[in-house]
Symmetry: C3
Subunit: 210 residues, 3 copies
Amino acid sequence: MPQVKTSLGTTVLLVFDLLATLLVALEGGSAGVLSHLDFFGVLVVAFVSALGGGIVRDLLIGATPPNAIRDWRYGTTALAGGGLTILSFQSFQAVPHELLLTLDAAGLALFAVAGADKAVEFGVPPLIACLMGAVTGSGGGVIRDLLLNRVPAILHSDIYATAALSGAVVTVALLRRGANRGGSMGAGAVICFTLRMLAVHYGWSLPHVR
Amino acid sequence: MPQVKTSLGTTVLLVFDLLATLLVALEGGSAGVLSHLDFFGVLVVAFVSALGGGIVRDLLIGATPPNAIRDWRYGTTALAGGGLTILSFQSFQAVPHELLLTLDAAGLALFAVAGADKAVEFGVPPLIACLMGAVTGSGGGVIRDLLLNRVPAILHSDIYATAALSGAVVTVALLRRGANRGGSMGAGAVICFTLRMLAVHYGWSLPHVR
Amino acid sequence: MPQVKTSLGTTVLLVFDLLATLLVALEGGSAGVLSHLDFFGVLVVAFVSALGGGIVRDLLIGATPPNAIRDWRYGTTALAGGGLTILSFQSFQAVPHELLLTLDAAGLALFAVAGADKAVEFGVPPLIACLMGAVTGSGGGVIRDLLLNRVPAILHSDIYATAALSGAVVTVALLRRGANRGGSMGAGAVICFTLRMLAVHYGWSLPHVR
């Protein structure tokens, strides 16, 4: 297992990662409230929305126990997001939709490139590392949708996982060409974020087979 | 991986664990029958209801292969429960509902505290160990509900996973204060069982966000 | 972890395994198209249909990272199947149904006995090795059905997982009696294929509890 280096970069990444975790937990918890779950159900859905993608990635690449299980800060942050949703669901409804979508796109970008980077470090093939980026970014939402008994949104509408995948591809490609980690992740994140925001703004979605 | 000590306590725990496995398999199998599954489907649902929670816990804490896979007695017991359901579904309908609920609460308590105890032994953080207790107790029911294409019951009604979580919290807290294993698990189990029975008796359920 | 021996037998097995992967990916992708998924969703469903069963088996027996993640040829083949589905869905509709069912039965047989064989090599108990054969053969279809929000077909209709299980039982029994690997897998595959084709031809299905 690779050493985890503690440095300024790692600390900054951790802070952003926890912020993204909190945000996605708030979104997941809100989906739970809208599906008439009870308090416990809201906490569960907040938890799996925020951490499910990373947990599945870690199980698949063999990084067990998954980081979200080993490091108490992630579970605490995700549950705090669920608790906040319960306490102030009404207030969240007042947050402008555009702001939420922008923050969510930023979280998606971070999850996707960090997930791809971790998969590369664990030595999985490049194709799989790219898929792991997409899984990290959008896997939590898939589990959330399964729990809420609906076909996962990423499978039939919108450009979401595709943006995550694009960012992951850029990151993996740059890492393999020897680019430094920060630059590779930064470039991938910009691509993912931009693609997602363009899709939201212009209402893009992927084609369907006729 | 920690050594498994064979002692009287371990043997007693194993017997109760297998009894709980059988009971939960019977309940799961019955849910399968009521959902019009065929014989094979009933066996599958019995198996995952009884063993799914423990398997997910073991995957998450890194105890692979999961105990339910490594130890043939669990799979055999769960499938026997499914087979019994097929053979005598009509008779089970005659069992008083109160008795079933009481036995189920006892099984839940056992699974929850044993699951939390195992997670502590594997060195995961206390918060996660508590969650693992809840996963062990109620994870099988979640997988069962997903297979039967419905929103998992624990997410929207009743006090079930919350009781498992409460028992797990007590067990983890006592273990961390240095209490012995039997006492910690016993106290947690009593809390879980009592809370669950009170919830059943008084029709308690968790609040929903309005 | 057992050594993987490269030999003629292994190469032949690999070729058949990749062919079966491609076929199951085409079938899974088609199910995705029929459920109105977008291009990305079709690729996802093709991937999990073809590789999900093997991935779950590997997670359960502790063979992490799963082979489908470690070996880029599987992911590439599954995604190629999904891509082909998108490009030529209309043409697939013209393939005679009987041919598809026959090829699918062959793929099922191969997945089931190869899955059981791998589980035996990893030293899990015989009962569990048989179940792992059934999981390898039919697990991908279960995940596909969950993603498409329906009760997994193998739980309520048809003889499919039961055929996989039968083939796995034969393979595991022969391996334990010291028969050679090729013969054990061949005999199991013949049993699985024959049972499946008989079930298709005569419209057999498993009984339900009344």
